[in-house]
Structures are given as C-alpha cells and as structure tokens.
Symmetry: C2
Subunit: 703 residues, 2 copies
Amino acid sequence: MKRLILTLFSLLFILIFGSCAKESLISEVTSPKGTNTINFFLSEQGEPMYTIIHENQMVIDTSTMGFEFKDQESLKSGLELLNITKTVEDEIWEMPWGEQKKVRNHYQGMIVSLKESKTPNRKLNIHFKAYDDGVAFRYEFLEQEGHDSITIMEEHTEFQLTGDHTAWWIPGDWDIYEQLYNTTKVSEIDAISKRDHPNLAATYIPENAVNTPVTMRSDSGLHLSFHEANLTDYSGMTLKVDNEALKLTSDLVHSDRLGYAVKTSLPAVTPWRTIQIADRAGDLIESRLIENLNEPNKLGDISWFSPMKYVGIWWEMHLGLSTWDLEATQAGGMTIDGGDVKHGASTENTKRYIDFAAANGFGGVLVEGWNTGWNYWIGFEDREGVFDFITPYSDYDLGEISEYAKNKGVEIIMHHETSAAPRTYEKQMDAAYKLMQENGMHSVKSGYVGKIIPKGEYHHGQWMVNHYRKALEKAAEYEVAVNAHEPIKPTGLRRHLPNTISAEGLRGQEFNAWATDGGNPPEHLPIVAFTRMLAGPIDFTPGVFEIALLQKPDNQINTTLAQQLALYVVIYSPIQMACDLPENYAGRPALQFIRDVGVDWEQSKVLNGEVGDFVTIAREERKSGNWFVGGITDENAREMTIDFDFLPEGKIFKAALYRDGVDAHYRSNPQALQIEQLEIKKGDSKTIKLAPGGGFAISLIAK
Amino acid sequence: MKRLILTLFSLLFILIFGSCAKESLISEVTSPKGTNTINFFLSEQGEPMYTIIHENQMVIDTSTMGFEFKDQESLKSGLELLNITKTVEDEIWEMPWGEQKKVRNHYQGMIVSLKESKTPNRKLNIHFKAYDDGVAFRYEFLEQEGHDSITIMEEHTEFQLTGDHTAWWIPGDWDIYEQLYNTTKVSEIDAISKRDHPNLAATYIPENAVNTPVTMRSDSGLHLSFHEANLTDYSGMTLKVDNEALKLTSDLVHSDRLGYAVKTSLPAVTPWRTIQIADRAGDLIESRLIENLNEPNKLGDISWFSPMKYVGIWWEMHLGLSTWDLEATQAGGMTIDGGDVKHGASTENTKRYIDFAAANGFGGVLVEGWNTGWNYWIGFEDREGVFDFITPYSDYDLGEISEYAKNKGVEIIMHHETSAAPRTYEKQMDAAYKLMQENGMHSVKSGYVGKIIPKGEYHHGQWMVNHYRKALEKAAEYEVAVNAHEPIKPTGLRRHLPNTISAEGLRGQEFNAWATDGGNPPEHLPIVAFTRMLAGPIDFTPGVFEIALLQKPDNQINTTLAQQLALYVVIYSPIQMACDLPENYAGRPALQFIRDVGVDWEQSKVLNGEVGDFVTIAREERKSGNWFVGGITDENAREMTIDFDFLPEGKIFKAALYRDGVDAHYRSNPQALQIEQLEIKKGDSKTIKLAPGGGFAISLIAK
C-alpha cells in the first residue's frame, strides 16, 4: 500500500515539477522503506530520463542519459522499451575488517532494457537500485553484431539539481585529489580557478568540473553525495557543473595518448553512479551504499593481513630532518642542500622505530627511501626504469631488519614509490611482492607522485584504473595488502578485494609540513569526513604531537593535540599511523590513547555532525568490546554533550577523556591538553568543550 | 673568629642550661658552617657527657654515655682524659646510583681518648663528627690485656631532650618495623600499647622504646631525627623513652639465646649514633649524613646492576587471586580454600608479565612463589630446611623463562623467602646466587617473615645483623644486588656495599590489601618520608591503579590515584615497582607517568613539606636531564604553588601534570584524575589542588 501511495505522490510531483520536455513514465522503483524512489522515463524522442524522489521531495529532476562513441553514432535518443525486470535483494555480508562487521545490503532494483528503434538497433540496459540510504544506476552494453568492443568518447549522465545547494567540492582534477575542499553554492563552483596549485606535482583541470564524492546540502537541510561505485575497467567520472542550470553532467577522464575515454570489450557494464541521500549529515557516514554496490569478497580468507597501528620513517623527511635518497639531496619533497641532514632509512634508524613500535604495541613500521632510485625520482622527464623495488640502499640491511622486526613482533610495511611510472612498476611487481612475502611483509604503501608516464595518460583514466587494479590483484597472489597514495579514488572495491586496505587520495597530513598556503585549515577534516571518507578508508596519518613543527617555522598543524587524537576514531582506516617522531611522543600521556585505540570495528555510530563544522563518531572495537569516541570541530569552539546510550546495558567502562586544555587554540596554544580518568556506563552523559580547531577523544575500556 | 664566638656562646648556654651535675668542659667541635656544636664533658665522677647546640639553641642537654658488660665491670664513670684529636674532612664522593650523584662529606671531628683512672685502666675512645646537617658519635674499644673480645649487655647512650617535642615514632620492636607511625608528645610515647598487632607475623616489644629513625619537632619548629649509621657486627639500637625526664636512652636488641646484646672482638667500634638537625623539615630528606658516616664503596664498579622499574607476580597473591604455593592453599598471607584460585608463578603467567614489562620499558619482573617450600612456609614451628632456593615448582620453567625474558630485554628478579630461617638460607646461598648468575639475574628480593629460628634471636639483633651482612657480601660475589624485606633497618651501608639496593622495613603497600586496621592512613607516607626514608631506599611498591581493590571489599588504598603516581618521586628507591595487575593498567593514560619517571637521580630537591602533613620533591634524572616532581598530602586537601626555579636556565620542558580530579577523595572518589599537558620553563609557577589523601606528579621532559 505504502509503495502505491508513494508512486502516486511521485507522479503528482512529476506533473508539478517535471521538466518541460514531454515524456512518459515507464516505471519506478522504491527503496525497501519507501524512502527513495527512482522514476524512469522515455521522452518523445526516445531519450532515457530519470528523476529521484526522497520522502515526497524531488531531489533530482528530469535528467537524461546517453553516450558518445568513437566509431559509432552516439546513443542518447531513439530508444524504445524492450522490457523491465524488478528485483529485490536483502543480504547480510561480513567485512573482514571495517567500520562495522555486518553490513546489510537491502534494496529494490529495476533493470530497464532499451533498444534503438532504427538500425543498428543497439541495446542498452540500465540497472537501477533504490536503497533507503541512496540510489544507484549503471549502464550495460550488450553484444553488438560486428563489434567486439566499444570506444566511449563521453558519457552524458545528468544530475539535474532542484536547488542552488551548498556544495563541498574539489576541482575535477584528472591527476590528483589533493586539493582543499571548497564550500560554495553550486552556482558559484569555479574549478578552473583551482588550476596550477604550487604544491601539486601533477594537476590537470580541463573543465569546470568537480571530483567525487561531492556532497551538498539543500536549503531544506537534505544531504546529497554524488560518487561512483565499483570503478572497473573504466575511467574515473568527474562531474561538469552548469552554474546556471544547476546541473551536473558526467565528464570522463580521457586518454590524450589514445584519444578516447574508455575502450572496453562487449558485453560491458559501467561503474555505478551513486547518490547518497540523508536528512542527517551523519547518516552519509553510516551509509555502506558504496560497498554494497561492489562484488562479494573474491579473496576469501585474508587473515594474513591484520588491521594495525604503525609508525614510520616518513614524517622526519617531511620535516627536512632526513632524506629519502642516500645522497641526502631530497627532503620534504624539495631538493635541499644536505648539510647535516642524513638518509632516513638506515638500518640503525629503522631499528629505533621498530623498538618504539614494539614498546607501544604498534604492529607496523613503514620505511620510505629504503630502495635505490630516489635521487632521480622527481623533477625528471624520463623516470622509466629509475626505481628499483628489489635493491636496498647500501645502508639498509633488509634481511637483518626483517629478522629484527620479527623478533620484536613488528611487521615492516613495504614502500613502493613508482614516481608515476607504472610500466616500470608492473615489470617488477612479481619480484617485488615475492621479496615481501619472503621477508614476512604483508602490506605495501605505493606512491604515484608526478605526471603519468606515458605522456597523455592521467591518474584517473582507464589505463591507470586498470594499473591500480592489476597491482591489487597481483599483490593478493603474494598475500600483500595495498595502501595506494596518489591513487584512483576508492569506489568500494575493498568488498571485492579486501587487500585494498587504505588509500590517500586527499590532502593529507603531509601538506601541513610544507604547503605554502598555510596547511590544511581546521574545516578540512570536518569536510573530509562527509566527502572523501564516503568513498572509503583514508590513510591520513594522524598523531602529530609536536604541532608547532619546530623545524618548520612557517608551518604548523591547524588542529589542537586533542583533535589529533580524535582523528584515530573519526577518520577511518584499518591501518592508522602514529606519524610523529618517536622522540616527540616521549613523556606524552596522550600517547596512551593511540596505544589503546582500536583499528577494527564491530560497529560505528555517528553521534553528531554537520558538514564542514564538526563531527563525533563512536566505534566499538571487535573482540575487546571496548568503545572509542572521537569528536572534532572546525575553527569554531563548541560545547557538546555526549550521551553514552550507545554503550551496552549494565557494563562499567574505565574511561579516559582527552580534551582541549582550558586555553587551547589551534594557532596560539594547540598542545594544551587535559586528560580525565573516570568511569562511565550507559545512561551517563558528559559535556565537553572543544577549542577552535579542537577535539576530544575518549577511550572506554570494558572492565 | 666565628668558631671562637660560637664557642663562647656555647659556654654561655652551658652555664645557663647546663644540667646540675658538676662537670667541666673538656672540648667542643663545631660544624664547618658553625651550625652545630658538640660539647664534651667529664663529670667529677669521670662520667663522659655531651651536649649539642644548634644555632645557639641547646638541642641535647647534658647526656651521659657508658656500657655494661657480661664479664667485666661496667664502663660509665671513673674516666680521665688522655688526649683529644681534632679532624677536618671535606670530600666529594659519587653514588653509583642514588638520590643524587655527588655527595659532599664535610665535617669537623674530634676524637676523645679516655682511660679508667683505676685498674684495669681500660681505654675508651669517643669519635665525634659535627656536620652542618647533624651530629654523630661512636665508641671505640681498644685492645685490653687479657681480653680478645667484649660482651656488651647494655649501652647507655643518653639523649636528653630539651622539651616535650612532638614525635613521630614506631615502637621499639625487636622483630619488625612494620607498624604505623604514631604522632604524640614525647611524654605520651607508649610503645607497650602497640604490642600484639594482629597483622604481624613476629613482633616483640619488651620496653617503652622506639625504633629509629625517630623524628621530632620542637615547639620552636626545630627538627631532630635520631638514628644510627653503619650498623656492623653489633645489634640494633632502640631508644628507651623516659616520659618524665624527656630522655631517650639506647636500648640494644638482645639475644635471649646467647644471653647478651653484643659480642665483638677487640679492637671494635660501635655504629654511629646520629642526630639529623634541621630548621626546615625538608632538609632532613636532603641530608646525606647517614651515608657519609659509612665506609667508601668496597665493591667498585657494579654496573651489572642498573636502577629499574619492575612489575611482578605479587599483588595478585595479596588480592587473593593467585597463590605462592603450587597447591593453592596460601593467598594474601592467609590460608585459603583454593577454589578457582591458581598458583601465580606459572611459566605462562610469568610470560604475561614479561610481555607487559617489555611493552612498557620496565626492566624487571619479580616472580614470587616460583620455588618449592611454600606450603610449609608460615605457621609452623620448625621451618628449617623447608625452603629450597634452587628447585622451581613443576609449572615454572626457569630456563625457558630466563631465555624468554632475555629476548624481550627484561630481567627476572629472583625471590628468596627464608621464612626467618637464616641458617637454611646460608647453607644454600652460594648455590642460589650461582643459579641466578647463570640465568642472568642480578637482583634478589629476600624475605624474613616470621619469628627467627633459632628461638631467642630477633630480626634486629647482632646475630641477624651479621646474617643480613653475609647475604650482601655473598651476593656481591655473584654480582647480585639485594632488596631485603623484613630486613634490619638501613644505616647507610649502601655506600660501602652498593648492592644494598633497597629494603622494606616499614609498613608497605601490601598492608592496604589485607590489614584489619583499615590499611595505611593518608598520613602514613607523609610521615615515612621524614622518618624511615632518612635511613635509606624503600621498596614500598607503589602504583596501584585499581584503588578500590574490587577483590577486597573490606580494604582499599587510602590515597588517590594521583598520589600513587607521586610516590615514584617522593619515596626513593633505585628499584620501583609498578605493583598493580597488568590488566588494571590497560587504557590508563596515567601509566605514561610510570613509563616516563626516572629511577636514578642527578640531584633531588625537597620543595616543601611538614612531617606527617605533606611533602613535595623534585628530582633530576641522570643522563636525560628530565625532571620529575611528586607531591603528596595527608587526609587534608591542600593547594600548593610549585615554582619551577629549580629548572636549568633557558630550557623548555614538555610537561605532563597528573593531579587529582575535581571531586577526588581518597575514600569516596580515589581514581578521579586529571592530566594536563603543557610546556614549562624556569621561572614558571603552577598552583595545584591536592585532594584529601591526594597528590600530584609532574614529568618534565627536556625538549
């Protein structure tokens, strides 16, 4: 009955708000609870069209769909209905690691089969899925006589907004996602103005487009986030912005080398185009829509990888204290005059980090700059064959270190910087992953700094999408998990390939050490939590305690120390770095929180939050049943009351509350911290002050 | 010139305050700065007498000296002056470990040689030393014709007080020092009333006497502490109290078995009788008088022992969670019905503690109950031959554990409970210490619970004094350091034998787990710091975090959690235990303080303090230059302002302040703790609130 009413409602709305083009409703599908409805139409010219209704409110007005090809006519009109299939699915699947253990995949679907009225009568299927937390659709290209593949020049998927929403966006860069988020009305989005960022090794912004996830809030307070799921053998989708019409249109990353966007053999499906829809901002974070739209686990048991906290030889390079290259000419991404700066990845220094990790129960030690090639890794046109993923520098005894780490119960995290020369990397992949397996390493951080070689390819194009995928599949053969930096954006692939453990793909902590624009502002992470984080785990590398960055007088972290702690809960990743120097943790009681905090979760709850302003998340650790809470704010101080109703009945928790000191401020007094030890149970509540740029973290240890 | 004036002064005072007995000043000696003066007299009857003057104030009025022997006439009068020798010494010596590195031994001395006027013309020398922080004297017995030894029945050394001072005292128990301190006027000291304490395995209080150190404060605010130094081949001295005359008289512990107090071959010297004198209570703690009166280091380099923090299988027995004996019949010193209680010292449980120690940078793991004998260790008349110091229980693999500990960089601390059967222990000493050396153990905790076997001997008599010494000397041969429980009181021997690392000899933490009198009251440690602690290092075993003692509903620690932290600085020992269960430290940010706090000091400063009320001590760690501050209070809340003038010029310290939570109280809310992180430099000051039974601890890590 409810379904019927909603259908009537939606019809009604179409009559009222429907675009002027004359069209007829073909069919509609509504989410299990009736929250979201997708309507599909065909125009008189046979153009496929759709609208999205959320709780009686039109959120996407009539929007068309279509494709342009290299060697065929475009496919956007002249289509007629062949058939409609309705589907219902309700499954529960388990994440081997994640924000929660059990995930419910519950939707109602519709497959619309279309056919060209005139020859060559090409067929096109459109798959729709209506979830209570959003909607998704994708295109299916069927066999065609005389064509074993298609070459897509452009995809025209429209998202017609129904208002001039507030948008949190980064430019539609084909090479990198490491920009600050902008907060503007859709009508004011200007990606072009974001070209030529001085701190980006590779950036290309051809259009006034945005990258996904892009999140918006309507004047009525409804939240929308646009992204894609299961990006496989296809190029990344940016969204071109029509500032007047308030319309987003898919704009695929091209290969200038090959002269097209996507080439794929038939039959083929595109990635899912997704819209997460939520009245409450926090529901965007709790949504598992993106993972649900991916294929089930293909790797089976991956117990060889365990979520962990790690330290590493990394931050000291960004502070200019040591270098990646043996000759000590590279630090903080810049060429330096060595002076008394030394190569970071020495056997001795690595052991120092291993000792620190062991003494604090951290599982991993990342070592960057261990292998040859770093002296030509950046600022050179031809970087093919420069990096060697097998050969350590002369001062790095890989065997001795692996043994030393093993005896201390610590695992070395491998590092593979490709300098955006993927062909060189692919040649060595087998050997490189084999070396890791032989030395008991089960995770690798990969990097793709710089412009892609060959010229004309971009990080987010199909060619690189397939490279990133190849690395994951190859790594899995050797029981290696991948944490890619300068990656393709996550699209939920971790469900299918759970060795996809984390990724960068945003402006991370490192920018705070050297960005010439003053580093990440306090609003950065309160935006990231509602944008980039909807795509998947983030290797943000929190945990800077020496926030003033003594070695970098012009830079400083724009958060308080308490917020650095909160990030271990707020920003999800199965691997979390304690990125500061061991000596900077000495004598810091706040270190206890990093020692305690979980990295693998039974469940997660967003207690409060507004995009770009603040967010508080509570997560229950698997096995232990301990809970951890993290809250962060932007440049504004706030007072929050946390209700501990999420705790289990009748259990008392040993709680430690880490919060901003009385006079804490992200600029003037970032390290003022107060830690309070107390006992907390369900029903208790606590009011906490957050300083400007501040935060808080709570550990709740089950007694 | 100054000396002369003082001499005149002292003469003047003698005329005014001198006792009525007619006597003549023989000579006097004054401390280097002229602070303290000792006057020596002979009465008309040839009785040796002395007085002590401090800053023009008589602190000890005319007091006589003398001895009674078994087979000779007593020697207390009829003496005439033979000769007087004046000495001056000013040396600086180094403590291999200690409250400070360099110690200045600066005094002016006088040796008075006396001789009986009539036959047998026995000679007696009295050595006096005047320090600016106190005075000391001892007796020297010279060769006598026809006597190669003397047998002392009693020593009559008087200390005639000049007022009814407030005294902090424990009864003159010949077997144990584990009583609570009493605070009364001297006229009200009643040791007899302290007999038959229900929680003491051996106690014998024959007289209205007190044990030393006993500390007093005069109405004018002057502090005196009476003790002895270099107790060698002699019996311990208690001080008999004359409540009317306000006089203390030495009362030696006797051997009822042998029928005398001391037998010693000639020539011989007695221990030093010492009086520490201070206007400011804190100066008593800063005084190194006791160590200065001992012989120089006889062992030389003892780098095989390093000061350390340690954990151990110990508190869990006191909580009744596990047992010393394999059969699980003994817990918390009481016979129990095993039930699901298990033997504590299993290989598996020991490894758990080793892992915890390694993960927190603690150097040692104490394992009690590892060896056979525990099922007959207490409550049996004949305990000779019961304990075996070589044979582990069947569930304790000593070799495997030693190897496991070694690989984790942790050292096992051996445990030797003798159940007060020293002859059994002496038989096995060589084998026992050899076993330790073979397994890389360099320290032992020894115990002497119960009444001494053979009957008629007491813990504090000459026979046991020599046993404790023998253990130290024997242990040193095998590079073993000794931490004796139920020991003879420390008398500064650690200077001569620096493997004398620590000792119990007071009512320690363990009483809080089961004492039927409600445990140590909040004033206990503010008294201990000015009494027992003047004798030497204390193995108090601080660090209980689960203060409510969930397993012991009738018991609880009478301090706040913050005070437990403060004790690591306030109560000095080169080995400091983190005595609580590993699980009780989980998730506690306060653990960071124990991880950080030093155990070996370059210098120590008492910032404030009043006996029995409160005390704050700051100590600088050797090598690191880090500073740590601890402050504790009694049952009264206080506010203190700490000035950080003791810090070096121009250095900034990363400070963590651990203090009582707003509503903290040692009974109702002992675990409320606040930790504040800040930066501190010389010249800064901080006002801190201490809760009833509370305290605070500050770590200052050099940046």
